[in-house]
């Protein structure tokens, strides 16, 4: 495969490095120890990559078979608008996840887990850099009054709470969040990158393969520790339990499902040749993939607890515990992790603000439902403003003071209130009740 490497203009490149110094202060440690932890892998570099030799023709939608676009100005304005929204949202998520991971990075119990997350953070920085490259390398004035420079400035000014997508506005409470976020939320990212690799806009499509290769590592940075923790939990560890892991899965999976956008949408992106699947189709594949991940984690538990069993015997034990909800050879249903219902704890999409329980059960009373959520979510998260805001909005919906659709729209909105100097911190984003930026769930919301 042929890869072209490039850098964004110097002042923006330097701005990203400054951003890195603030939000990724352990970058130096990562690079100093790279060869010890990743001896067979090329050293990280802050740059943009484009894969050459990708498919020349638009691969789906109304323009299927025509040459891919190389300039935003050649796209239909609405198509270009969707594309620009996707690039900006993607950039926001890449930088946003670094801000989240740094909160609890130091709490890792194992150095390997910590360094893997650190490398993942550096690669997220590169993914953000890649999106800035797309914003700066083309002229977007056909669809936006905001210049490329201003867009970069805006993205680098965002902090947790002001990012475009909900999942990137929630604080981490423990290192279990770091790993579970990689396993669940980066998995959504993998789907988005996979879909975007067929984009009718060639520079975007060319950006995806190198990002996907790095994303495979990000998934591993989450799944590998989760597997180890399930094995340790099976052996009675005092430092991690499957109940801890379950609660963190419950915290993130609903946000991951929402990142695909409203279950009724996505057709426009398909028609425009920007993605090959509608939202519900991609979301369903994701949910089934997480189901497989959960089974894998449970098999780790069973095999660690009962190492004398052969494969078939271990599978039979797991199947019986899950199906019958009874203890088999000392393993109880509660000892394992389970996939929450698709409608559990949702605040966007078709089931937004439904009172649907963890197993799909219906609740009629808001307080009972909030108590149910409290029992299934991590203690630290229950005390967060994110959960409080959700609870308050849920009461308003239940009381008929607002609709679920309105409540879903009232995420923190983004408003630019000042500053023009590129690379400065003079831009402020504030939460408001408008619809800009926060109204839709980003790249998959069409």
């Amino acid at each position: 495969m042929a890869i072209a490497k490039t850098h964004i203009p110097r002042k923006f490149h330097d701005a990203v490095l400054k951003w890195r110094d603030v939000f990724l202060p352990d970058y130096g440690f990562l690079m100093d120890n790279w060869d010890r932890h990743f001896p067979r892998e090329p050293r990280f570099e802050a740059c943009a990559y484009r894969e050459l030799g990708i498919c020349d023709e638009i691969e789906c939608g109304d323009l299927k078979g025509r040459p891919k676009f190389t300039r935003a100005a050649d796209l239909d304005p609405e198509q270009a608008g969707h594309l620009l929204g996707a690039i900006r949202a993607q950039a926001s998520t890449e930088f946003g996840s670094i801000q989240q991971h740094r909160l609890t990075l130091a709490r890792a119990q194992d150095e390997k887990d910590q360094v893997w997350i650190l490398r993942m953070m550096a690669e997220e920085l590169r993914h953000g850099y890649q999106m800035l490259h797309l914003l700066l390398d083309d002229d977007w004035s056909c669809v936006s009054d905001t210049s490329g420079e201003q867009m970069v400035e805006e993205i680098l000014s965002m902090t947790t709470g002001s990012h475009v997508l909900g999942a990137f506005n929630i604080d981490f409470d423990s290192f279990v969040d770091n790993a579970t976020f990689c396993a669940l939320i980066d998995r959504v990212g993998k789907y988005q990158l996979e879909m975007q690799r067929i984009s009718a806009y060639r520079p975007f499509a060319e950006s995806m393969p190198p990002m996907l290769r790095e994303e495979a590592f990000h998934l591993a940075a989450g799944v590998v520790p989760l597997r180890r923790w399930m094995e340790r939990a099976a052996l009675g560890s005092h430092y991690i339990t499957s109940a801890d892991i379950q609660k963190v899965i419950n915290k993130w999976l609903p946000r991951g499902l929402e990142m695909f956008g409203d279950e009724r949408g996505g057709g426009t992106n398909v028609r425009y040749g920007l993605k090959p699947m509608k939202n519900a189709e991609a979301q369903d594949l994701y949910y089934r993939e997480v189901e497989k991940l959960v089974r894998d984690l449970n098999m780790r538990f069973v095999r660690a607890r009962l190492p004398e069993l052969k494969l078939r015997e271990a599978e039979a034990v797991l199947d019986e515990v899950v199906a019958e909800r009874k203890a088999v050879q000392g393993i109880r249903w509660e000892d394992l992790v389970h996939l929450p219902h698709k409608h559990f704890f949702r605040r966007r999409g078709v089931p937004a603000f439904e009172l649907t329980g963890w197993e799909g059960e219906a609740f009629a009373d808001v307080d009972l439902y909030l108590a149910h959520l409290s029992a299934h979510l991590p203690d630290a998260y229950r005390a967060s403003s994110d959960f409080r805001d959700y609870g308050e909005k849920l009461r308003e919906v239940a009381a008929g003071e607002t609709t679920a659709a309105e409540a879903a729209r009232e995420m923190p909105a983004l408003r630019r209130v000042g500053g023009a100097c590129p690379c400065s911190k003079s831009v402020r984003w504030v939460a408001g009740n408008g619809t800009a930026g926060g109204a839709a769930e980003g790249p998959a919301a069409v």
Binding site: M1, L212, R213, E214, K292, D296, M299, R300
Partner: protein, 150 residues
């Protein structure tokens, strides 16, 4: 027992295939080695997530093939597709699972610009040698050399 009418689907390897591949290896080799396969799959997925493949039959993973396109090994400068690890569920052998995996992998290698595909086969594994011969592979001029260091 496999259903002869069920459709075989070949798709790129996913990280969630680890449990299935570990299980296939256990069926073939009789040993549970999750850590070995975790490292191996991680390597191939980071190198090129599309190159390595699994075969599904009725939604169950029944075979896998790991490989990639590289240049520069042993002075071979041209882009070369390397087939490095494969396995097929003993219960579905005879369904051309390995052949389908190889065909898909070779197509991918071609699309990646590889002009040659190579592999190494243990002389004691006659079945594997026959498999590659049936696919049109021929003994190459390279001879593997090794020396015990312990």
């Amino acid at each position: 027992m496999s259903d002869e009418t069920a459709e075989v689907r070949i798709r790129p390897l996913q990280d969630t295939d680890l449990g299935d591949i570990t299980g296939l290896d256990e069926k073939i080799a009789g040993e549970y080695r999750p850590d070995v396969w975790e490292l191996r799959l991680g390597y191939y997925m980071r190198r090129d997530p599309d190159a390595s493949l699994v075969a599904e039959l009725d939604g169950a993973v029944v075979g896998f093939m790991l490989g990639e396109v590289r240049s520069g090994e042993f002075g071979l400068e041209e882009p070369t597709g390397w087939i490095e690890v494969m396995g097929v569920d003993p219960e579905v052998r005879g369904r051309s699972i390995g052949r389908r995996l190889a065909a898909a992998m070779l197509d991918y290698f071609r699309a990646r610009g590889a002009t040659t595909v190579r592999t190494l086969v243990d002389r004691d594994m006659e079945g594997i040698a026959q498999f590659f011969t049936a696919l049109g592979f021929e003994p190459a001029g390279l001879t593997p050399f090794s020396k015990k260091l312990a």
